[in-house]
Symmetry: C2
């Protein structure tokens, strides 16, 4: 697989260069006449659908070197230097044995300590909370960053496993192809093994046979004739795999009679569309020629209008908003509104009881990491031009730090509405026409959980409202079927979904998103 990935990488780089060259010499839609318009080619190769007016490089293009970062606030995430220190401690803790780090984040100081702390004071002791796994055992460790002191918490009585790391996923995806049985099975279905992509679906064990093992079930797709392999499931084949050993435990195949849905018409990219109906709209953009009205102090403290709050990228929750306070316009004093808020879980159960579907009950935050799955935001596609970006520093499975650039964006939103307006009717002869534009501040991240993209916005309004919005977009995941129309379906048969197209069922499912909200409106003495 290594060699194949390398070739894929080369092909990809070549394609990018090709598209860039093409973009420079053959602009995909009429060049704007005004010279202050887009410099698309400087930005990225995927600019055809970009909604932008680029005059200067955006803030997102200016890379920030995080190696010298130091924490400024008790809730600031662990820095690169801090993670490196903790990494050393973990390495020596596990001596020379193999281990994996499933979570390595700041252990938040107690709330009363944070509430008492004032800017300029020394920070409370910095501690790391680590979840690791070695020799089939889970470890929950607290590491004092400065002293290297380590406290091990006994987890031997706790059932369950830590979240699946990106490295776990990367590794397990190739496990089925190492099985001769699997390769035979898919060839019988007419699929060339070189076209196969397998995805680890909700981890977890069901029944006694699976108990005690770190099990994940993989479903496979063919990438042939489509960019959208989600539309081409090799239905009914489930590869039960052990995440610790990467070995195939069992292959279930209940889909021999189910054809693979066709690939034609599944490419959703703009470049693949044709016909007169698809037309790019003229660019439209939120512009702030004098710059935005907010500042980010010390990398994480956002100040906008009467609001002040702390933003921290987190591998599990995505974005954590803490110490949200609003300035009283009469007294000038900052009043507490929320101590902390974040998405605590995202639960997506599918309602199909068949063998290849019953276990699809995703816990996207706890199982995969809502933050780990948040890819870099694409300036102008994901956030408007005047957005500022925040990078995340996360720990890899070996405990070393890495940077996810532009994981969070912050921007002011204006949609042409008034926050307040009044026109005085001609009653007393006063000509009064007053309006205040409705401007809000948005803190955004986008988590791409395979087929689905979740856009999570924390929107702050000057009137004190915090509006949390979650937009769900991306691609639906489908079930293969032998049916091509509803006349073939017995009236007593339950499809557990809708026949969307030839050989494709959209399975009924829900998306539940839960939030942890520690509200402190005017202090802690309220419910």
């Amino acid at each position: 697989m290594e060699g194949k990935n390398f070739i894929r990488c080369l092909v990809f780089i070549f394609s990018v260069v090709l598209v860039m060259v093409f973009t420079i010499f053959n602009f995909p839609h009429p060049l704007p006449t005004s010279s202050d318009l887009l410099e698309c080619a400087t930005n990225s190769a995927w600019c055809t659908a970009k909604n932008r007016i680029l005059r200067h490089p955006t803030a997102a293009n200016l890379r920030h070197d995080h190696t010298a970062d130091v924490p400024h606030h008790p809730l600031d995430p662990l820095t690169i230097q801090e993670i490196n220190k903790v990494h050393k401690v973990i390495k020596s803790f596990f001596d020379k044995s193999v281990y994996s780090v499933h979570s390595l984040v700041l252990e938040d100081p107690d709330k009363e300590v944070v509430l008492k702390w004032k800017k300029g004071e020394t920070l409370p002791p910095r501690k790391a909370s680590v979840i690791a796994r070695a020799a089939g055992k889970n470890y929950l460790l607290t590491v004092d960053v400065e002293s290297g002191e380590i406290v091990e918490h006994d987890t031997s009585h706790i059932s369950g496993f830590p979240l699946v790391t990106l490295e776990d996923m990367q590794k397990v995806m190739s496990a089925p192809l190492a099985s001769a049985h699997f390769n035979r099975t898919i060839v019988e279905r007419g699929v060339d093994p070189k076209d196969v992509a397998c995805l680890p679906f909700s981890p977890g064990w069901f029944g006694k046979a699976e108990d005690g093992r770190r099990i994940v079930k993989l479903e496979c797709f063919t990438t042939k004739d489509t960019t959208n392999f989600y539309m081409r499931p090799i239905e009914g084949i489930i590869v039960i795999t052990d995440l610790d050993t990467n070995e195939v435990v069992e292959i279930i195949d209940k889909g021999k009679h189910i054809p693979i849905p066709k690939g034609t018409g599944t490419d959703y990219r703009l470049s693949a569309q044709n016909g007169p109906i698809i037309k790019l709209p003229n660019p439209i953009s939120m512009e702030q020629p004098n710059g935005p009205n907010f500042v980010i102090e010390d990398d994480h403290l956002v100040k906008w209008a009467n609001w002040e709050f702390h933003v921290k990228p987190d591998p599990r929750a995505g974005v954590m908003v803490s110490r949200a306070r609003i300035r009283d316009p009469e007294t000038g004093v900052l009043r507490n509104v929320m101590y902390q808020g974040f998405a605590s879980e995202l639960f997506v159960p599918y309602m199909d009881p068949e063998e290849a579907w019953y276990f699809k009950t995703y816990m996207d935050a706890g199982e995969y990491g809502f933050g780990l799955q948040a890819l870099s935001l694409d300036p102008l596609n994901d956030c408007p031009r005047n957005a500022k970006y925040m990078d995340a520093i996360f720990a890899a499975a070996d405990g070393t730090p890495y940077v996810r650039e532009n994981m969070v964006c912050i921007f002011e939103r204006y949609a042409g509405d008034a926050a307040w307006r009044h026109t005085e009717s001609p009653i007393t002869g006063q000509m009064i026409r007053e309006a205040r534009p409705k401007i809000s501040l948005v803190v955004r991240m986008v988590a791409s959980l395979a087929n689905y993209d979740y856009i999570v916005d924390w929107e702050f309004h000057a009137d004190g409202v915090i509006h949390v919005k979650v937009a769900l977009t991306g691609i639906v995941i489908v079930k293969g079927t032998s049916y091509v129309n509803m006349n073939q379906v017995n009236e007593n048969e339950n499809l557990y979904g809708t026949l969307l197209s030839d050989n494709i069922i959209g399975v009924v499912h829900d998306h539940y998103i839960n939030f942890y909200l520690d509200m402190d409106i005017d202090g802690e003495d309220n419910s």
Copy 2:
């Protein structure tokens, strides 16, 4: 009163000139450095709060001469020439007697006629529907515009009265001051008659004594020491007036013990604010350097994305949207969605049973005209820069036409959101980052019903959704009280509202807005 109004007008004009001169020489906030920024002074004197980046004069500044307008669509509103023709017919119908026109609008052709009509065909006969009043009698007339033929509909059996015209209101506002009794009463309350402004509140009769007369009840305010006279009611005085004769029928005074709330701190204008907390945000604007993506054909037919619909300003309903159709992306055929939609009534009952309040049960569309009360939109305050504007042609009380400029605006909205996006996770090595910006089309009007401002948006989305939004803003109307704090209020006493400030109660009330929606999704055969 005529002389006084003339002086007010002079003072007003002088103030405007003063503010404009001041604005040119003393720009109220730092001038932007970029030359492509606002030319505020060219736009209006009330630009301090304007949210704009002006590069060119907006479309709203280009006045359109409507004298030669002709109708192009069966639902196009009556033109100036057509109203003039109808006016002549009405004048001759009433011979030399005094009459007033309360409504003069196109009588919509039957739906099947409109549905059959195709562009380029002759228009169905143009007819005007007229509601008039003369010698204490209501007339409902249908006038054939071309032939001048007139059909009178018998209304003698119908109880009730037509809507209050702007001229009715203008006239009746000065009626109380003609009464010596009224002047004595307000002087006893410490108010100088020259400071008084009286407003006609919900018309209608209550009880036998008022039956058969076109009655309106006026409440009065003092304009002294405030621009916001709504905050200074002369509570408890109700002037019952006959709208036909303009005579005062009765003066009720149950408020002798109620002081007039103080004027300090009631000026809501930005220019009156001081202190360090009020700060204008940097300008933010939706910009479309290549222009908008919609066209308005023949003055009323809007074409945007896959939508097509007809917009008509209406004196009673405000904005009427008709023949809304969406183009099927597969067949290219326009599919019916809505035959007609408009705000049919806006009902605002107050829940205070006291004599000065029980009758306050506004029917803002039917009694005052939601469209008649829609003042000209203020570019950049009410609609963003790339908005296009539509004027209304209405009939005055004498039946002659007048133009309400910029009554409706149409603009594309972009708020930094994606209509759809997908980032392909690193599964197959495909680097896919696709996004489509969420752009919608808004048709907006703002009705200023004295203290309240209603922003009515018909928002069209490319996915087929029509989203009707009504924003309520402006100033609350209050009740005077002798109380300054809640300790003074007997626990058994019901204030029917909240003590908002010294001597001010915000009375409990509702805002109901009803819509007429003739949905024709894929034709008429659905419910």
